[in-house]
């Protein structure tokens, strides 16, 4: 456990040392929310509605993009060498990927909470009567996203391939899930396609929580995300091969 913690601490600190990652999760997310919210506000009677829409949907976008943070944390060129040394050490291979999942999960989670804490009062947006539920629901989603990033790394053995593939997939799922604009008005087929995108359901859960204080989706989504995380971590342990580092 102490060995694991040592690795974890280094991974966690490493993430904060990467300016691109820190900015992508704070400045870029906040900018997207503010700019898109501002642009969309012309359609509404009250510009607050537009900010609320983009705060929640862009947050989900940010959570999913956490997969890229994880893949970067796992397979960056400099870190790969360090990983190789851990393989030779007596701690085994499990801490290599699990500490990366945990570190990027915590990193994204903290930064996203920071974004919410700053933007909500600034834009007068509410995330529900009990913000704790909202924050709580974010946790397993962030974890699942991080695990997804690592899982893709284990399959494709390359950070670059993973992040390209993931960013494209995430963008597509988000467009389908109505992150940038609603697809409901575009005909029945598209509305159906939209329902196939998991992003749609994640959005639904966060929106009902923030706008109606409706906790119907909380438990199912929470458990689904946890189940997915467990599956992904199991997938990592099955596909992680030390030979990839040689």
């Amino acid at each position: 456990m102490r060995r694991f913690f040592t690795i974890f601490k280094l991974d966690f600190a490493n993430l904060f040392k990467n300016p691109v990652l820190v900015n992508a999760n704070t400045c870029f997310s906040a900018l997207l929310i503010v700019i898109l919210g501002f642009l969309g506000s012309g359609n509404y009677a009250n510009s607050k509605t537009s900010y609320q829409y983009y705060l929640i949907s862009m947050l989900v976008f940010g959570i999913l993009n956490g997969a890229m943070t994880a893949s970067n944390c796992f397979m960056e060129r400099d870190i790969k060498k360090a990983n190789l040394r851990i393989i030779y050490s007596p701690v085994g291979s499990f801490p290599i990927y699990f500490s990366k999942i945990l570190a990027s999960f915590l990193f994204d989670y903290l930064l996203h909470i920071l974004v919410i804490a700053l933007l909500c009062p600034l834009l007068h947006v509410s995330i529900g009567v009990h913000p704790a539920y909202f924050i709580l629901l974010m946790a397993p989603m962030e974890f699942a996203a991080a695990a997804l990033g690592i899982f893709f790394c284990c399959i494709f053995h390359s950070e670059e391939a993973t992040s390209t593939l993931l960013s494209t997939t995430v963008s597509l799922l988000c467009v389908l899930g109505g992150t940038f604009f609603s697809l409901e008005g575009l005909g029945r087929t598209v509305a159906f396609l939209s329902r196939l995108s998991p992003v749609k359901w994640v959005n639904e859960a966060f929106f009902t929580l923030a706008c109606d204080n409706d906790r119907h989706y909380l438990l199912p989504m929470f458990s689904a995300a946890i189940l997915l995380s467990v599956l992904l971590v199991a997938g990592c342990s099955l596909t992680f091969k030390t030979e990839d580092y040689l």
Binding site: I35, F38, Y44, A45, T164, S182, E184, G187, V190, D214
Partner: protein, 326 residues
Amino acid sequence: MKTFITVLKNNYLRTRPRIILLVVMTAIALSSTMLAVYLSGVPHVKGRVVLITKDEKTVLGEQSKYLKFSVAQKEPPYSALVEQKYDAYVTLKTDGNYTIKTLKNQKYEEMLLYLLTHPKAKPPKIGYERGIGANIIGFMMMFLMMLSFSNLFVFADDKEQGQIKKVFAAPASFWGYLLAHVTYCLSLLFPEYILLVILKLSGRNIGFSLSEYAGLIVVIGFFGVSLAMLLYVMIQKSDNATMLGNSIMVLATTLSGSFYSFSKNNDILDHIIKVLPQKAIMDFIEYLEQGKGVAYCGYIIYVILFSAVLFAISCIKLQKMYIKRV
């Protein structure tokens, strides 16, 4: 010329281990184009309205075809309005008047009331609606640029692993090397073009002519490649460059309204957005669609110049880094 051919061949050979990735990315880009084509064929609905009534039989006799009605006994949650699942909740009062609950602006509410009371009338126009060609290019743009970004991986690898130093030290042509990468990236956009050709041949309306599409794809691709190359040159680690580049791309492309045109008018922001090449492309294709392409060719020239400047900066920087300092 010799360098050009050698590097180009080498690029294709190095694509082989990444072929799955390339196929997936291309498939996603293609499906986005298909989505645009499909969406353009769907009739435009002005509003999705929920009629709240206790008695389902008293549904409106005549309904405007520009509105999509659904009937509910109880008011749907507020979040459905925020999420834009519905545009308005309408209750029919006993005196025959409507109460409208919507989050949209006054103008929209007036239009909705007008359509409710005049079911046969045409809706008043709010803003400009773009055609199918602009839609296709708008949906393709982001993916085309992402493709150019990831397809420059050979250059990024060369630079990160220091091979580029050897290339430039060898008796190889500097321009041949760079042009080979640009050509390689542009050639991988070919499947998109093939899809458009197939759509055209199958008799679908795709807005522009095939030669116009070819030109636009090359311009967009070149812009993507120039930006990607500049970032790879400026930033040491290629994965950081990719991440930054994709972020910039998503932000700039969304801001230019490639998927969805925004209606907010704000002078300062409008001026800022106008600088974006993506916005210039969108503006240009809208004019092209109206048949005014030649008169407004300044937009597309701006994009080409912008890319050329980016490209020139990377060239100068590369020469400084690897050639003059040897």
